[in-house]
Amino acid sequence: MKKLINHVDNIVDEMLDGMTAAHPNRLRRLEGTTVLVRKDAPVTGKVGIVSGGGSGHEPAHAGYVGPGMLDGAVAGEVFTSPTPDQVFEAIKAVNGGKGVLLVIKNYTGDVMNFEMAAELAEAEGIQVRQVVVNDDVAVEDSSFTSGRRGIAGTVLVHKIAGAKAAEGAALDDVHAVAESVIKNVKSMGMSLSPCTVPAAGKPGFTLGEKEMEIGTGIHGEPGVERTDIKPAAETAEILFHKVFQEMNMQAGDEAAVIINGLGSTPLMELYVFHHAIDRLLKDKDIRVEEAVVGEWMTSLEMAGVSFTMLKLDDTLKKLLDAPSDTVSWKRG
């Protein structure tokens, strides 16, 4: 394991302090916690939005804290959901009197810990609502299981719910628009190499020199199948078709698209990949104003990419284009 770190036990702590040191006018760390909030939190008269999860997915989520997106981000240990007390601190710090929306990625740990935090907050009279993002179509949906994972599509929930909250909307309305994003966003990923959780010291899985894994999750959870390495264009087709078939889209529809690098895949390759996606979009006559290509929700140093598509309507599009001013997502 070769990492630019000091002690494995201090990574999250030093990362959080490194972030506030780099962005002192934007971010503030709640003392004694792993929570970063907007410098000016709480914003009175605005619904607060809190997201978070295990660390190792940077810039998710603190990179999205700021005007027009999140009010607070809670960091767990690497790939480990943060604990209820930390989430509770975030809720208290961003509550501007209009209640708080929790944006949770659908992992058992995240759901349980955020749920317990919501219980604590409600016991103190803070209005809390939750949404659970489950955009990853790699895993079959089933009412018998805990369902699909939340991956890069989550960033679009932050953006759009954040824009709605910035308008001064009520908690129920912010919640509703977040649910509408979740209903319309689907993603799927693949990987060429695994990643190593620092404290584990060894890769989470192994892939042969000529193998790739289709449907990998952002913690290296396995996906649909392991195959021989395929060209980027063919890989794009597999991800695109799987995502597309789960969406209710017609020719002429408009979509937002994220090409998300999982960690060590160069931007060069992400654009090569998008070149193939662009053709598939044109084939289906799906309009995309500007694709979002880069690293938005990573998996440490994993090599791979995920493809996210959100079907837009006028409301979602307006909110997506609304201004935001965070470290990693600036618009308008």
Partner: protein, 205 residues
């Protein structure tokens, strides 16, 4: 008979067993999860141990409640809320009794089992820690005294039974049929939880 001292040994034994098996737990979680179960549990038991060095308790319930709080606030992931909620309910059921009979203890463990089930929305056969909690508690519930060796064996067999299961909850569920053939890491750590208790109780008697 579980005294405050037994409860403390239980938790200390759990710490020892988790630390001894940390790498094994990590390896199991790498196979069908995200590879942090050993790390998560180790962090939790070490923090708990620190707490136990610093504080003293009057009753088993008080001690176990404090342990629950540490687990909830230090482990995270899926296992933190599950062990935390379980211990919280165990402590609640223990109330402020100074000593717990085996029957009291079985009522406590039953409350813990229900907490795991509720928090995790888990059912039998879904390849989770519930597949250890459920058989262990169900087998001995109603007995007057606990046969600790039998309890250990039950826990061990329960862990083995998870190998053939097709995961329906937790990260292993993403693997679908590929989860078959692997031991569930949370089931393994739950066995250690019951073994730690058995060792403490046996030493007491």
């Amino acid at each position: 008979m579980i005294t405050t001292g037994t409860a403390k040994s239980w938790m200390e034994n759990f710490k020892e067993l988790i630390l001894e098996n940390k790498d094994e737990l990590t390896t199991l979680d790498q196979a069908i999860g995200d590879g942090d179960h050993g790390i998560n549990m180790a962090r939790g038991v070490q923090e708990m141990d620190k707490m136990l060095q610093e504080k003293t308790f009057e009753t088993p319930g008080a001690l176990l409640k404090a342990a629950a709080m540490v687990f909830i606030s230090k482990i995270g992931g899926a296992s933190g809320p599950l062990y935390g909620s379980a211990l919280m309910k165990i402590a609640a059921e223990a109330g402020d009794k100074a000593e717990l009979t085996d029957q009291d203890l079985l009522a406590c463990l039953d409350a813990g089992k229900k907490a795991v089930q509720q928090r995790g929305r888990a059912e039998t056969g879904e390849k989770t820690m519930y597949d250890v909690w459920d058989p262990v508690v169900s087998t001995f519930r109603g007995e007057e005294t606990i046969d600790w060796e039998a309890l250990k064996t039950t826990a061990q067999q329960a862990v083995k039974s998870t190998v053939d299961m097709h995961a329906k909850k937790g990260r292993a569920a993403y693997l679908g049929a590929r989860s078959v053939g692997h031991t569930d890491p949370g089931a393994f750590s739950s066995r250690l939880f019951f073994e730690a208790l058995a060792d403490a109780a046996q030493k007491e008697n």
